[in-house]
Symmetry: C2
Subunit: 374 residues, 2 copies
Amino acid sequence: MSGEFSFSLISTDGAARRGEISTPRGAIRTPVFMPVGTAATVKAMFLDAVRATGTDVVLANTYHLMLRPGAERIAALGGLHKFMGWPHPILTDSGGYQVMSLAKLRKVGEQGVTFRSHLDGAMFELSPERAIEIQNLLGADIAMQLDECLRLPAPEAEVARAMRLSLRWAERSKRAFESAAPGRALFGIVQGGVSPTLRSESARELVRIGFHGYAIGGLAVGEPQDVMLATVEETMIELPADKPRYLMGVGEPDDLLAAVARGIDMFDCVLPTRAGRHALAYTRKGKINLRNARHADDPRPLDETSQCPAARDYSRAYLHHLVKANEMLGAMLLTWANVAYYQELMNGIREAIAARRLKDFVAETEANWTKEPR
Amino acid sequence: MSGEFSFSLISTDGAARRGEISTPRGAIRTPVFMPVGTAATVKAMFLDAVRATGTDVVLANTYHLMLRPGAERIAALGGLHKFMGWPHPILTDSGGYQVMSLAKLRKVGEQGVTFRSHLDGAMFELSPERAIEIQNLLGADIAMQLDECLRLPAPEAEVARAMRLSLRWAERSKRAFESAAPGRALFGIVQGGVSPTLRSESARELVRIGFHGYAIGGLAVGEPQDVMLATVEETMIELPADKPRYLMGVGEPDDLLAAVARGIDMFDCVLPTRAGRHALAYTRKGKINLRNARHADDPRPLDETSQCPAARDYSRAYLHHLVKANEMLGAMLLTWANVAYYQELMNGIREAIAARRLKDFVAETEANWTKEPR
């Protein structure tokens, strides 16, 4: 491994961008969808299948890995790439979001956050510096600054306070990151709820500090899609064109299309993997709930035109049977099919931007989604 | 598909036999281990991986499939091979064993058995004729006669009664099987508990009726290994050399070695797959419980010399982590490694018989099993 982290813009179509991130561990074609590998595994999938769907980068969760098996342990075993058997790029989040959503008794102060593990109640501390240290121990190709994630809705003054604390943590994260190995990247995270003023302030200040890329955090937490997209648009104004832009935790396929059209380059979301464990298939023709009895005698595959064996080679009747019988193979096949569909969608998006026909691609894709009865 | 069912003996080493079963769906190298695909899936495995471990035939359970999704449904979908995506040989049991072990309110009479489904309490009837009909609907390459399986221990008179009922059912099964598609085979099942006299009577009478192969049922239900093996030896005396002999539900690797040495050709057992879902790995050097904390920092794979990626390419530390985190990938990898180990063992057995060195192979294999701390 050698080389620098860099981002190059290949072509644009309106606000949408086709680009490429270079890392010492390989290239990331953007717009990119990152499957989530929470606990050093993309749930229910072998990583060679994840790769074969067209995945350039996976996300792993600092919070989960710091609790179990521990960052120092993973470092001693040669780092996260070796531990999980994924030699390609990995982005790690900073833990802030899971501390908010999973940990018990969390207490936020200027220095950082203390919390109890949701696994065994053990006390942990996470500061901006420790979050960077953990991500460096894991060996993340792209690390994220620690931010304070609020449970929403929250009063605007509280949103402003958390956003400004996150800015101070961004400064400290950048300083702490100076000792990171060459070629690794650190992203800042824009916060500010759904307030355009706060989002603009957050983005401007992060750009002033200077990062390898910029993420938009604190969205896709239950707000309507148009509110999310309006906030993305406001934030975009402040973000430099020559750095990647990452919309965290998003989303449904139609969120991806809409956000790409507004200039987002990177996404992660548990939806394709989580849905795969809950009998839900994403396909070209829309979502299919395999638990539904109408599939019991249906010999058709999920999508006979898919490149993915899981979507192409197994009947809906068989998938329905596996789901009803709680067989692990049901989750294995549906997760695989879903990640493959997401990556097929991203591939279509990238090709459409390159051909300057994203608008048509979006219209065709959305029209196709209506073709399966829900 | 065309051709007949046949069994040819290739070589012998003492009582052990190296042979080959021909079926219209492909050859089965014996001695053979059949992974169990209870509900039309070898739990937690893709069937291409099952095949790649060297699996020639899988077993599926009539009881489970008749309840869900139903034999007529599978037939309408093109049969079990197509339904599950396994074009190679399939052996189905007759349902008798699961009716005993799983069903509620079972009632055995001369005609057959009535019982309630353990899934939803629905009433079902299983007669020798219906068991054959179901197996024909599934498209089994090797079908088994319905037998009455007792909960043991049971009084000898009761064992004798059930054995003789099973013989009458064997006659009816054979008659019912006359309409089966060409190339399919039907096996009789020797019963009689651990009584040499009853076993001999059962075997003699089955041979008189005449089957494509003979199974030994009702063993490996908790009796000591030497009692099981003594019963196998007694039964062997009555079984013709030119037909395959199948020891049902067996077993641990050392059971396989001991039974092969006594002339058994076929085995099935849930152990490798079940153990894989319970953190237990079978390896050349013995069993490894991945739940044990001593593996947390161990960078070694289960077996660096294995042909199986699951055993060769993942550290024990990672497997331990997956098991502790209840990640599906843990069960996926350990099941794969276990089935691969069982098939590697069977391959070694077959080569050793061909080279007339089974005794040495058994000694070497058993010595190796002591090399991992339990």
